[in-house]
Subunit: 80 residues, 2 copies
């Protein structure tokens, strides 16, 4: 099964991308996971390891695509 | 029918995004169009009107998502 992971942090750019991009993916072929870095900061290190530098980002089987620009991971870390 | 338009200019970042992102889209619900701005410069003005500022970019029913960063439209214009 293919895996699509969408990383976001609740920003408006993220929400818009989440709704429209995830809607367009082929859910018969991709298992979709959503990681909200603003709500679960323990996932930030995992996202960095995966190659995510800003949100929103979409990982397709491990290849990371940064979609538009909401915030850097550094911003998300400091956003208490 | 939903329309997904992928704008690219032949750069390596574009090709990688094209292959992986287009592959993940639901082709039963989206009609996919590919616009190669490097090969057809008459389309650049159309892309700008649509809101494309850099390539690669994916438009989903008119909403433009810039995916990673290959080149600005200005670069594409000057790339003879």
């Amino acid at each position: 099964m293919n895996i699509a992971t969408f990383y976001h942090a609740g920003c408006s750019v993220c929400v818009s991308a989440e709704q429209q991009v995830l809607d367009a993916l082929d859910k018969n072929r991709f298992k979709i996971e959503i990681v909200h870095l603003g709500e679960d900061k323990t996932k930030i290190a995992e996202a960095e390891q995966a190659g995510v530098r800003s949100v929103p980002a979409l990982s397709l089987n491990g290849s990371v695509f940064h979609i538009n620009y909401g915030a850097s991971l550094e911003d998300v870390k400091g956003d208490e």
